[in-house]
């Protein structure tokens, strides 16, 4: 019988490999369809990380909304827009030195972390467990969303309405 911490670590590294490998292949593949499929692998890894951290509602939202919604939208647009011409051309522009400058700052920190090991860092003190822990993740999330965050929730719904109207206006040939 494996101990729980080791099991959690094994699953963390599997999901992290999915996330990072999928992301690297997403930004390096030439074909947009291949990029979209590897992005799905990466998003599924992120969903697994949510499940590992007991965020079950976000896990479901990630699967349904990202993989089922956004990625289908991406694949539809790839079908609609003729990408054959673009796939034959140069895939990278000449901005690699700007990317290098932007990345090196955080990249040095990541390498420092990896070389020192996680035991050397104390991020924050863990919080105290809340009283209503008998409720599940989804119930507690709904409590927070419909009481403390009611106004941002309604504003988000208006944002989605604006996005729907905006995308229809953009994509339609003549209004």
């Amino acid at each position: 019988m494996l101990n729980p911490e080791l099991t959690q670590a094994i699953f963390f590294y599997i999901f992290a490999a999915m996330v990072l490998g999928g992301a690297i292949l997403t930004v390096t593949r030439g074909s947009a369809v291949h990029s979209a499929l590897f992005l799905i692998v990466s998003l599924m890894g992120v969903a697994g990380l949510y499940l590992l951290q007991q965020a079950e509602f976000l896990f479901a939202v990630q699967i349904i909304l990202y993989i089922g919604g956004i990625m289908v939208l991406f694949l539809f647009v790839i079908m609609l827009v003729n990408l054959d011409q673009a796939a034959k051309e140069k895939q990278f522009n000449g901005q690699w030195w700007i990317a290098l400058v932007c990345v090196s700052l955080v990249g040095v920190q990541v390498f420092y972390f990896l070389s020192k090991g996680s035991g050397k860092f104390k991020i924050a003190q863990p919080g105290i467990l809340p009283a209503n822990l008998t409720l599940g993740n989804t119930e507690r999330l709904a409590d927070a969303l419909f009481t403390d965050y009611l106004l941002p929730f309604e504003i988000a719904s208006i944002l989605l309405l604006v996005a729907v109207v905006g995308s229809v206006v953009m994509a339609k040939k003549r209004i």
Binding site: E5, L6, Q8, A9, F12, Y13, L20, A23, T26, V27, A32, S35, A36, L39, S42, V46, L49, Q53, Q54, A55, F57, L58, Q62, Y66, I70, L73, F74, V77, L80, V81, A86, Q91, F92, N93, W96, I98, A99, G107, V110, F113, S118, I123, P126, G127, I128, A144, L145, D148, Y149, A156, L159, L160, A163, V164, G166, S167, V169, M170, A171, K173
Partner: protein, 102 residues
């Protein structure tokens, strides 16, 4: 290498953010640039959920829901703009759209 702490999640999220940034800055295809933006938003979400779990506080997960909402709105409008652009200019390469450049 174990137990897995919040620091592991932060390092993973930083690496994902870097990969997404490289994608946004170096790719020419607008579809793949939009996908890299999705990677960056996912890196933010990993961070939010990790701290939410560390503090036993659900506010981080509520913010992750709002980030996902923004990602959906951004993808919908961005792909609408892409279709309009392809109809007018017959290109999906970002550096061929240079009317405002001097």
């Amino acid at each position: 290498m174990y137990p897995i702490t919040t620091a592991h999640y932060i390092a993973l999220s930083a690496a994902l953010l870097l990969i997404g940034t490289v994608g946004v800055l170096t790719r020419r295809n607008i579809v793949i640039i939009l996908m890299s933006i999705e990677l960056i938003l996912n890196a933010v979400n990993i961070n939010l959920v990790a701290f939410s779990q560390a503090f036993h506080n659900l506010n981080g997960q509520v913010f992750a829901i709002f980030v996902i909402t923004d990602a959906v709105a951004e993808a919908a409008v961005g792909l609408g703009i892409l279709i309009a652009l392809f109809r007018n200019k017959e290109t999906v390469l970002a550096d061929e759209v240079d009317l405002l450049k001097w």
